[in-house]
Symmetry: C2
Subunit: 312 residues, 2 copies
């Protein structure tokens, strides 16, 4: 799908035999698809700290090295997020950080109509205020270049909008963002975040990860509860059948496959981490997203954006 839609060369990295067996089931005539063998696999259970150095011929290593050596423009994975982050950060065989970046971060586009970017979504469980400033800068450049949003509104996620709200991290980040030259619009709560009160919502990776997981848990719990309740009565069951297409549209809206994967911002190359449950369409979207990040030179923009702001 991606090779056909974008006309790009797609290099599939992993177990050559399995990839070729799978490819043979599809019509790939006229498409440029290459296969590159990697003998090791980073599983979802592997601990990043162990595999980053312990499995040097994993598909993550081989794929990211393609970007590092400029043989590929971007790397897309639906695998272990910690693994992708760890391998990306390796020097020499990986990509390392963009000069000036203190901590790379995962951005995630939240699947409501307004498509706000939440950053960090789990790369950094513990943050300092200056990391949050950089997340704001990187996120702002990303949505400007990749989503085409001019002068993006940047906010901090907090437990209240009023002055004096927030934990110490947020309170110390506020003056940094205020003075940054970013279009900083203040603190927002989850409700305002979902309503699109900011284009970029900045948070530490622990809070961001909990937010996304909470949203998934509530959405899936509500869907299941509605389904169960529908089954209980004849009229509701009939209603459920009639309303099915409406439900499908709601699910589609909350379906993250539309919006691609999570860009890993701050590493010196393009890396997109798609959801582990991605279907073919979602992976195609993630490839399109990675393509646009490369095309729009987001990595270079981050490098010069950080230089402009300087050390906080």
């Amino acid at each position: 799908m991606a090779a056909r839609e974008f006309g790009d060369t797609i290099i599939l990295v992993g177990d050559e035999q399995r990839i070729k067996a799978e490819l043979s089931k599809h019509d790939t005539a006229g498409l440029t698809i290459e296969v590159l063998h990697a003998s090791e696999i980073i599983t979802m259970e592997d601990k990043p700290s162990q595999v980053v150095k312990g499995k040097p011929d994993s598909s993550m290593h081989v794929g990211i090295q393609l970007v590092q050596s400029k043989q590929a423009d971007a790397f897309v994975t639906a695998g272990n997020t910690g693994g992708a982050l760890g391998v990306s950060m390796l020097r020499q065989v990986g990509l390392g950080r963009i000069k000036g970046v203190k901590r790379p971060a995962l951005g995630v586009i939240f699947p409501t109509k307004e498509r706000p970017l939440l950053i960090d979504n789990g790369a950094n469980a513990d943050c300092r205020p200056e990391y949050l400033l950089q997340f704001g800068i990187m996120g702002s450049l990303y949505v400007e270049r990749v989503l085409g949003i001019e002068n993006p509104r940047v906010a901090l996620i907090s437990n209240g909008e009023e002055e004096g709200k927030g934990n110490l991290l947020i309170k110390e980040a506020i003056p940094l963002l205020s003075a940054s030259g970013l279009n900083y619009v203040g603190n927002i709560e989850p409700k305002e975040f979902m309503a699109g009160a900011a284009d970029v919502a900045v948070t530490d990776g622990f809070t961001g990860n909990i937010m996304i997981k909470m949203a998934e848990a509530v959405a899936s719990h509500m869907s299941a509860t509605i389904r169960d309740e529908m089954m209980k009565g004849l009229f509701s069951a009939l209603g459920g059948v009639l309303a099915r297409s409406a439900f499908r549209r709601v699910r589609a809206q909350f379906d993250s496959s539309e919006v691609g994967g999570a860009p890993l911002l701050g590493v010196n190359g393009v890396v997109v981490v798609a959801h582990g449950r991605s279907n073919a369409y979602a992976i195609k979207q993630a490839v399109g997203q990675a393509r646009r990040i490369a095309e729009q030179a987001v990595v270079e923009a981050i490098a010069s954006g950080l230089e402009e702001v300087g050390e906080p």
Copy 2:
């Protein structure tokens, strides 16, 4: 409703004229309802730091003093949470902390079928590991005594269940909870929290507050989206009408009015903070909850529970 159901004396604290005007609209024959005038009002916009000392004759002050002077067994409010916390913590005119409590915390019963308690829900934006230990102890005693759950399962909210996950706060809290004698079952993510994998889920007040607000935001967004989508087609609109009672049951399940308010645990008296949007039924439930906390001597249980565990 509360006076009738519980047979208790209810003391209504606030603007005497307005309370009496409201009371006159109801049939209160045979009920013991007293009115106690308070000349000042803490608004939802007031900053706790200013009003706690600046409005000494607020309904919060007068009501909490009734508990402090043993003229009342419990105080229930649907007002400013920070105000209730601040006034409760005052020495002499307020309640102060239970001996040994480092930080009082707000518990909140999450309105899924399993009714897990999340603590802290916003009283402490910045926490130390030993606070989390105490939240676990207080929460455990609360659900045991008030909800009748034997040997409650206590967990820490984290961004992953695996060892090595969590931020520094969580990592440092794990050994404290493990060694506490509590029925500590490990780290849980939001999904497991909602599924009732623990009876008491411990978190700092910043994360807990964001979790609850995220859940409210997602639930309300999903309801609105489903409603909008239903309106779009004839069949779905008809389906929506037929499924209405199912929707009503789902909303009722997510309706926090069933579960009462948030108990403020760790202060030396019974204080329950109901949601600002509470209806009459929710307030009645909160009164019933406050009643049970007093009856079950939760304050005394926390005092002796903390003494047993000692200083971490």
